[in-house]
């Protein structure tokens, strides 16, 4: 069914279709509507699920870790301060290898940040053992919630996953979304069968018992390996989804005009859409510009990025958060991916605290890249876009 909805609705609908059995979540702008929609579905009797009206995000994640450990498909969602409050438990979910799906509606966290989009909530969580995927449209949010369960529950993966969507830009923007029917989803996503972690007195398991140092390193290695294997799984699930639903989100990354591109910009999230327009415009003008939408941040598709960027003469990275004193976290990933290339790599930090990233901003990034391609080197590696008193390029 095609309806014009925001991403919070799209997510809630997908969660219902995924036959999630336990949900615990707590309201926070811009995710709030998600907890409201789900509560309405349940109270209207169209969704059959245990809904725990917890008193905090810390409790939300604690409860879904417990229910998932008990062997039941579970969901939570949050944003910003809420995600920061969950931080402690994110390690537990990863460590216990629980395929929980969480909708993260990105919003800046901490003082001098407001309620608008920034990735300084999700980026600091990248080492907790969760997969992280960033999306661009409301349709993609909906589709990725469905894919997320299939990716996370794959026995090669068994890790929790965050589907990160831009606060307001997606959550409070309505666009047409094809909302999946139950039969379609049932044909794609099988019922969850807990094989490694379940709690049943008939076959007792100790889950999460304190682990001495003799074992920790091997468990950590297992997570690392599962994360690497997830790269294949993300691709496979995408193809399976595309076959069944006719919508291909192209797995780890999606590219535009990269084959002969001299300059390539790597984006995350909704800035991609704006950049798509700018790239087309540049192509019309005969500029060899390309674009890569990075969808998976954990695991990071370093090999794919290296492959795509191998003939480029300048590579730009868009960052919606900062690792202070260094640069953007995304930039660091790309530098790592391109470690044996001498192409200039330039970080563009911008859009913090929900500051709009307009066509002009994206154009200015490409201008800097085109200049670097010409000279063969970057004037500066870390650029701040549209920042008063800071000159770009």
């Amino acid at each position: 069914m095609r309806r014009v909805v925001g991403s919070n609705y799209a997510t809630s609908h997908a969660v219902m279709r995924a036959r999630v059995e336990v949900i615990a979540a707590y309201p926070i702008t811009p995710q709030t509507q998600m907890v409201e929609h789900i509560a309405k579905f349940i109270n209207d009797g169209i969704m059959d699920c245990e809904y725990i009206n917890v008193e905090s995000e810390h409790s939300a994640i604690s409860a879904v870790i417990a229910s998932q450990a008990a062997g039941v498909r579970s969901f939570t969602s949050t944003a910003s301060q809420g995600l920061a409050l969950m931080h402690e438990l994110l390690f537990s979910a990863g460590g216990l290898r629980l395929p929980i799906v969480m909708g993260v509606v990105n919003r800046s966290v901490g003082s001098t940040g407001g309620i608008w989009v920034e990735y300084n909530d999700s980026m600091p969580q990248r080492d907790c053992g969760w997969l992280q995927m960033y999306v661009e449209t409301n349709q993609e949010v909906h589709d990725m919630i469905l894919q997320a369960y299939k990716i996370a529950e794959d026995k090669r993966v068994l890790l929790p996953i965050m589907i990160c969507s831009d606060g307001f830009i997606l959550s409070h923007t309505v666009e047409p979304v094809e909302l999946a029917e139950q039969e379609e989803v049932d044909g794609f996503l099988p019922k969850y069968e807990a094989r490694h972690s379940y709690l049943d007195p008939k076959d007792p398991i100790a889950s999460g018992i304190v682990t001495p140092r003799e074992y920790r390193q091997e468990f950590a290695y297992q997570i690392h390996r599962a994360m690497l294997e997830a790269k294949d799984v993300i691709g496979e699930v995408n193809r399976d989804f595309a076959d069944k639903f006719g919508r291909d989100h192209s797995g780890l990354i999606e590219t535009e005009f990269v084959e002969d591109a001299e300059v390539i910009l790597l984006t995350l999230g909704t800035v991609t859409s704006t950049a798509r327009g700018v790239v087309r415009e540049l192509r019309k003008k005969g500029k060899k510009a390309g674009l890569v939408k990075v969808r998976a941040f954990r695991p990071y598709p370093a090999e794919r990025i290296a492959e795509v960027c191998k003939d480029a003469r300048a590579v730009g990275v868009y960052d919606r958060s900062v690792s202070f004193g260094v640069g953007g976290p995304h930039y660091l990933e790309v530098r790592n991916a391109l470690f044996d290339s001498d192409v200039p790599v330039i970080d563009f930090i911008g859009g913090l605290g929900g500051r709009d990233v307009a066509e002009a901003d994206v154009r200015s990034m490409y201008d800097v890249l085109l200049e670097a391609a010409k000279t063969g080197k970057a004037k500066r590696n870390i650029e701040w876009v549209n920042t008063r008193g800071v000159v770009l390029g």
């Binding site: 615990a24 409790s59 409860a63 417990a66 039941v72 438990l89 709690l199 007195p201 007792p204 018992i209």
Partner: protein, 308 residues
């Protein structure tokens, strides 16, 4: 029918070979509580002495399903477990959280309150050893007035904890949950029958069990039971039970021998007459309060099982 000691099974749910200190009151409480609860249970344990002495990976003293994540989330974790059991159709399974007093009175109070407000179908047991023992005896909200801990040490200026013990059972009664009780390892029949009653009740059940700690309190390890008895005698701990709003006092304290109780323990040894008098006054006030509370709630709720 009231349980007798002979009714408890020989078989352990909480196995021997656990690594609690010799004479540990918490271990004494937990292994017996588990026997009353039986095998159809799921246990959640937050960070605490118990989370260590119940074995480290890959060993485990629990013979029943066990879950552990962090320190302050017992109320939330047991909520998740209980809902999961409902989804799995395992209605006969009782979900039980067992937390220390720090994990209950301090850092876990919020999650506990939330779970109680939702009247989750779980049993929450707090074993009260009156300090953070796992991290080496720091003060908790449940540490009594005057007690010396490593964060309320005996100094030249101040000696021991200046504040008074937080009354978590009373806080739980204020949540109007179906069952709140206090018990002690030193009163076996009272303890096991409260556990039995908790097991037979639906909804949120809270039980706080007094559990002396040998190194934390600084006493001779064979005296765990004697100390527990003295505590109830002198009014440092009350045996209470609040069912559907009605408070009952299970044992009248004599309200004497406070000094005998204090002098047996290293943590109180420094207390002077003034401090002891302050403490005595506070427990007497508490006792008056509970008597009045019991009278009042007996009148208010007698005969009414519903609408607490």
């Amino acid at each position: 029918m009231r349980l007798k000691l002979k009714d408890l099974p020989e078989e352990n749910i909480f196995s021997s070979g656990h690594t609690a200190c010799a004479g540990c009151g918490a271990a004494m409480a937990i292994r017996n509580i588990a026997k009353v609860l039986g095998k159809e249970i799921i246990i959640y344990v937050p960070a605490s002495c118990l989370s260590v002495f119940n074995g480290l990976f890959p060993s485990c003293a629990w013979t029943v399903p066990y879950h552990h994540t962090v320190f302050e989330n017992t109320g939330a974790a047991i909520s998740g477990l209980s809902r999961a059991m409902k989804r799995k159709g395992l209605d006969n399974v009782t979900v039980v959280g067992i937390a220390g007093d720090g994990g209950t009175a301090d850092i876990g109070l919020q999650a506990l309150s939330g779970a109680a407000e939702r009247n989750e179908d779980v049993i929450y047991i707090c074993y009260d050893n009156e300090a953070y023992m796992n991290t080496g005896v720091q003060r908790s909200g449940s540490t009594p007035h005057g007690a010396s801990t490593t964060t309320t040490p005996v100094g030249k200026l101040m000696k021991g904890k200046q504040d008074f013990k937080k009354d978590v059972p009373l806080i739980m009664m204020a949540h109007s949950v179906p069952y709140v009780a206090t018990a002690s390892v030193s009163f076996p029949l009272d303890l096991i029958n409260k556990v039995k009653k908790a097991k037979e009740t639906k909804g949120f059940r809270y039980l706080q069990v007094y559990a002396p700690c040998v190194p934390g309190w600084g006493y001779e390890q064979s005296k765990t039971v004697e100390l527990g008895k003295l505590a109830v005698e002198c009014g440092m701990w009350f045996l209470l039970e609040c069912e559907n709003g009605q408070l009952k006092i299970n044992r009248e304290p004599k309200m004497k021998n406070l000094e005998t109780y204090l002098k047996m323990q290293g943590r109180f040894r420094h207390m002077d007459e003034k401090q002891i008098a302050e403490l005595q006054e506070s427990i007497e006030r508490k006792w008056e309060f509970y008597k009045g509370y019991a009278d009042l709630t007996q009148r208010l709720y007698s005969g009414s099982e519903a609408s607490v």
